[in-house]
């Protein structure tokens, strides 16, 4: 018997039993999903000190020194707003490298130990991929959190960080981590170990450098409208433009809602493609 508002609806006994089973199965699935999440957390927590030193301390410190301080003085004659614009994009490198380290475990596993074969017997393969993408995005986001606060503490006299909107910055940073995680997971499903170096040089390097690591989109448009239009298909552009909108603000960058929506939709597209190619790679039938 099911109670919905004031309506009483009778259902046959078999339907009630199957619904109970369904609920139990759902709970079991959630439990296994969370267990996998905790497992990933446990595995990567072992490397947490090294990750924190590399991506939360060394990279931000080096980038603040080179790109916030020296670059603003030497390239841009102390224009603090231009300095902030360029500096905002530099967090791409640690973000992508961090995501790569976590998500590409799947590729090494697919080519060697194949623990994934065991995992897909206890949980739906699509849920495993979602869990791995979510974990990679959360972990990367946590590691990347200190980047801008450190810049605010140590570089606010060299670059203009007075307009920074922390809430939108962290939303974009998380969505960017999510999109990067889904994209790298897709790459991990598609590639082989021998092609990793090629993937960085021919794909990631181009996406990164033309995606706004140095140059915001409006400058590219000014140089070549065609290139500016083509760059709208580069997912990294939405992350850097979103970060610049949150840090510097202004009409020259893409609106925040547009960046957030694009990053979210691209994350879904990459995840769906990941399901498809993962099935093709693992399913021999």
């Amino acid at each position: 018997m099911v109670f919905t508002n004031n309506w009483i609806r009778y259902e046959p006994y078999s339907a009630q039993v199957s619904k109970g089973k369904h609920m139990k199965k759902l709970l079991q699935t959630i439990q296994v999903f969370l267990q996998f999440f905790y497992r990933d957390l446990y595995v990567h927590t072992q490397q947490l000190p090294a990750h924190l030193i590399n991506y939360s301390i060394i990279y931000p410190t080096l980038y603040i020194f080179a790109f916030a301080f020296l670059q603003t003085e030497i390239y841009f004659g102390g224009q603090t707003q231009v300095g902030a614009t360029v500096f905002s994009g530099t967090c791409l490198v640690p973000l992508l490298v961090m995501v790569f380290h976590i998500t590409f475990d799947l590729l090494f596993d697919l080519e060697k130990n194949r623990h994934i074969d065991f995992q897909i017997t206890v949980l739906d393969p699509r849920l495993i991929l979602i869990e791995q993408i979510l974990f990679a995005s959360f972990f990367t986001f946590l590691i990347m959190i200190p980047f801008f606060p450190l810049a605010r503490i140590f570089a606010s006299s060299y670059i203009d960080l007075s307009n920074i909107s922390w809430s939108s910055l962290f939303i974009i940073l998380y969505l960017g981590s999510l999109c990067a995680a889904a994209y790298h997971k897709l790459a991990a499903v598609l590639l082989t170990v021998q092609k990793i170096s090629m993937f960085w040089t021919r794909v990631n390097h181009i996406l990164l450098v033309l995606g706004g690591f140095w140059i915001p989109l409006h400058i590219v448009r000014q140089f070549s409208p065609t290139l500016g239009f083509l760059l709208r298909f580069n997912p990294v552009v939405y992350l850097t433009e979103g970060l610049r909108q949150s840090v510097v603000g202004g009409s020259q960058f893409l609106p925040l809602w547009q960046c957030a929506t694009a990053l979210f939709i691209l994350s879904i597209i990459f995840t769906l493609l990941c399901f498809y190619f993962f099935k093709r790679r693992v399913d021999h039938i």
Binding site: L62, F69, I74, V86, T201
Partner: protein, 263 residues
């Protein structure tokens, strides 16, 4: 006991083998290089000046940042193969049993990397200079001097990466090499800016840059090709590079003993 001729014959055979392997990978390496050069020309030659970067910095950045970064990437890939081999395949054990003195064997590793890097990067440097055109500015140095410094730069990078592959474990190298060794070398060296511009901004702290071997390598490349008073003089850079090479040799020797000597 091997004669000198025997050693040379084995050494040449090993190099010939490497060149054969390189031939099969050459197209990939050239494509990668072309991508890097095209992007560099676009970013440093066209887009950064639109943001306000002085045009006079284009040529020094191309030599200091792009060329050095490309050499570092090639070196990293080469070292990664060596680290992987030391951890998993142990192909090096076969090399160690060859009737060739160990010093010759490690010279072979260095020579192989230097030839590979030269074959890939030299045409790209020329191509980059042509593509940058008038933005590159006048070449006041000499090609001969540039080639000498370039050779020293190759030797430095090969010693640095071969040494690193013997010094560190596979896991450490994979996780930390870029963040803890290569990036600090570039950031606390004059890769993104010239040494004189850095000195004008941070006069006291810039003295620490003299401790970085990349300062001599990068400024040496600039001074030898571009000439002029904007760069550190070659009379300082060349001895600096030699000191760096000697230090890297000592480091490599230590790394080899650490990694391969079982006693």
């Amino acid at each position: 006991m091997n004669t000198l001729i025997d050693n040379i014959t084995i050494f040449r055979a090993l190099l010939a083998r490497d060149m054969k392997v390189l031939k099969s990978r050459l197209s990939d390496l050239v494509i990668d290089g072309l991508i890097l050069v095209s992007i560099t020309v676009l970013i440093f030659g066209n887009l950064l000046p639109l943001l306000g970067m002085p045009i006079t910095l284009i040529a020094p950045l191309f030599l200091g940042n792009s060329l050095s970064f490309f050499l570092a990437s090639l070196g990293y890939n080469c070292a990664m193969r060596m680290v992987y081999d030391l951890k998993f395949n142990r192909f090096i054990d076969y090399f160690l049993t060859l009737p060739l003195p160990k010093s010759w064997l490690f010279t072979y590793y260095l020579t192989s990397f230097m030839i590979e890097s030269a074959i890939v990067t030299l045409p790209l440097v020329v191509l980059g200079i042509i593509a940058l055109g008038s933005n590159f500015g006048p070449i006041n140095g000499t090609i001969f001097m540039f080639m000498c410094v370039y050779f020293c730069a190759l030797l430095f990078w090969s010693l640095f990466f071969l040494g690193s592959s013997f010094m560190y474990s596979f896991q450490w190298f994979k996780s930390n090499m870029w963040a803890r060794r290569i990036m600090p070398l570039f950031i606390f060296g004059p890769a993104f800016f010239t040494f004189k511009t850095i000195r004008s901004v941070i006069p006291i702290f810039s003295k620490l840059y003299w401790l970085n071997p990349l300062t001599y390598v990068i400024e040496g490349l600039r001074a030898s090709l571009l000439g002029g008073p904007d760069y550190v003089s070659l009379t300082i850079c060349v001895p600096g590079i030699f000191v760096a090479i000697v230090l890297m040799c000592i480091r490599l020797r230590y790394g080899i003993y650490k990694q391969l000597d079982p006693v």
